[in-house]
Amino acid sequence: MKPRVAFFDFASCEGCQLSVINMENELLDIVSHIDIVNFREAMTEASDDYDIAFIEGSVTREYDIPRLKKIRENAKFVIPIGACACTGGVNFRKNFYELNEIRYYVYRDSAKYFDTFATRPVKAVIPVDFEIPGCPINAKEFLSVVKSLLIGKKPEIPNYPVCVECKLLGNVCMYDKGEVCLGAVTRAGCGAWCPSNSSGCEGCRGLVDEPNKNSEIEVLTKAGLTVEDAIQKFRIFAGYFEEVKK
């Protein structure tokens, strides 16, 4: 029997689900191997009977919690996709401001209508089986995870930095071009997407386990960044990590 797959979204831009829809060349093949039973962005039919739940988006309000718990009860595998779901993504930036101040700044007197709490990743609310990081996710990586699940193998996400992929591609180092790049401590798997387009890594996939913090500080200082600048740079996507929070 084909595995039954569901997609759900919380606070996000829905770009990760769109990355799945954008696999035009593979889409017909994919739907011949799995049954998509829940995908609000693309279909009206909906079922609570599914094996794999892909979740996009961060958790930002009370209302999200029972919804997530129900997904956890229904699914055998819960897999957050994208930076928002894995680490809070850009939504995590909200947590560096005073919550009420930011609510009133954006919504003024109507702030009371907008229930919100500090941004959390999915794993802060329910146990997850696996994560696909990135903003947006890399479709090739998504596909390899789906293939692994289909053959009953544990999917693998690299635990080495973007620099490794970038070097293998033969890119000129961004620092040699005078640009700031977070590739030395950011988890690989994207194929060094940004440096390959001559733009510094923004750290959207989060930090590798045990990043070499001291050496990174040295590199950034050498590039002329103050500690404050460097922290701001990491807080675009990686604010969730303890190394950056402090």
Partner: protein
């Protein structure tokens, strides 16, 4: 005649983001008729305060996956406007080309994958694959071509990498542009010819409904505006985009987390139909012929025809992309460094047409190049009031039909606006006078 009825569509499907339709009819009278927007707010305007100008566009791009190129472009234009910087001709040409790619990919996604299943009596594109595989393959190919264009020019379709303040970090080669041109000419245009036939055959299924409203879009004298222009209105003439606040009077309704807008009437509309209604005379030849064939003439007040206007614009986007590519090839691609901004205190506004309508970013910078204040006007916000007023007119006209049919018609109405609710609430700003 249905004397009592409750319709409650919790999460309208096949749209971006979360919205509900609520209709209560009691004793033959419509008691409630609401378009509720219930998306989780994300507070972008709040958390881009303090961000350095070089990092702004990549953060706000994340407001929306599907129109991330539009958000990036509007953001960059607002920043460049604030610093008084004028981009090079090559940069502007590449940006226009990139917007053409986004328009095409978004319109194909919406017309074929999100809207068309309704006209074919299906609940999703997956349900019609077995019976309409040829059409699905055609649509997938068109979408792939559009995304290939965006990948080539922007480095990535969703959240473009190469497009930055002051230029492009990496440029396409002339060879890549020639290949793209060939694909557009030999594949995209013929597929779009067939697309016109497909949608011409669906025309009889488009509901016969109309409601007069005010249409607003960017306008220029010399081209069908997407990248820049003045604000134009079917009621109010024309004004500089820096005056946008006097047209997008925002207000709050309790049942919506998106902010509503109005100008001359109770509501206004933006998007493909608005652009068509204001700029049809400037469509490129093949798009003009398609509009003729599809019976679309300005001013058209039927919101369901927005789907058809999107088909027409898809053709225009490919024709325009070919013009921009020719421009680049004729002059030759020049290696241009990304320019740094001359930092100074100031405010800047960037307005571009994105698939769902006019998008405005407005930033104030301090003298060190960090944002102190931000305001964004999102297309779907501007359409919310119009959607609800359409519902209020439509429901009494179709009240004698079965409930299922009424519900479907209302969902189709919402879908025809191609709403992007995820975007619409993330940056709403309430300005009480």
């Amino acid at each position: 005649m249905n004397t009592n009825m409750n319709i409650n569509v919790h999460y309208v499907t096949r749209i971006e983001g979360h919205g509900n339709i609520v209709v209560d009819i009691k004793d033959g009278k419509v008691e409630r008729c609401l378009w509720e927007v219930i998306e989780a707010p994300r507070f972008f305007e709040g958390f881009i305060r303090g961000v350095y100008y070089k990092d702004v566009s990549e953060i706000v791009s994340r407001i929306c996956g599907i129109c991330s190129i539009g958000h990036t472009t509007a953001s960059i234009r607002a920043t460049e406007d604030a610093f008084g910087y004028v981009p090079t001709e090559q940069t502007v040409t590449l940006r226009k080309l990139l917007l053409d790619g986004e328009t095409l990919q978004s319109h194909i996604l919406h017309t074929y994958f999100l809207a068309a299943p309704d006209f074919l009596g299906a609940k999703s594109v997956f349900a019609i694959l077995p019976t309409h595989l040829d059409i699905a393959k055609m649509a997938l190919r068109l979408k792939r071509i559009a995304n290939d264009l965006c990948d080539l020019i922007g480095g990535r379709t969703i959240h473009p990498i190469r497009e930055v303040v002051g230029g492009f970090t990496k440029l396409p080669t002339e060879r890549e542009l020639r290949d793209l041109k060939k694909t557009l000419e030999t594949e995209a245009l013929p597929l779009l010819d067939k697309t016109v036939d497909v949608f011409a055959s669906l025309l009889p299924k488009i509901p016969n409904f109309s409601r007069e409203t005010e249409y607003i879009a960017l306008v220029r004298d010399d081209e069908y505006a997407f990248y820049d222009g003045d604000l134009g209105s079917t009621d109010a003439g024309r004004t500089d985009v820096h005056n946008y606040k006097s047209w997008t009077n925002e207000y709050v309704v309790p049942h919506s987390s998106a902010k509503w807008t109005k100008n001359k009437r109770e509501s206004l509309a933006v998007g493909a139909l608005a652009r068509f209604n204001l700029n049809a005379r400037l469509l490129l030849p093949k798009a003009k012929a398609a509009a003729e064939k599809l019976g679309l003439r300005p001013i058209n007040y039927n919101p369901f025809m927005n789907n058809i206007a999107q088909v027409v614009e898809s053709i225009h986007a490919v024709e325009d992309a070919l013009i921009q590519i020719d421009k680049l090839l004729t002059r030759g691609i020049k290696e241009e460094k990304v320019d740094s901004m001359p930092l100074k205190e100031g405010q800047g506004v960037g307005a571009v047409e994105v698939p769902r309508g006019i998008l405005i970013h407005d930033y104030t910078y301090d003298r060190t190049g960090h944002i102190v204040h931000a305001n964004c006007i999102i297309p779907t916000n501007q359409n919310c009031a119009n959607i609800e007023y359409d519902m209020k007119k439509l429901v009494p006209e179709i009240m004698d039909r079965p409930q299922d049919e009424i519900q479907l018609m209302l969902e189709m109405l919402v879908r025809s606006y191609d709403p992007c609710v995820s975007c619409s609430v993330h940056m709403v700003k309430v300005n009480f006078k």
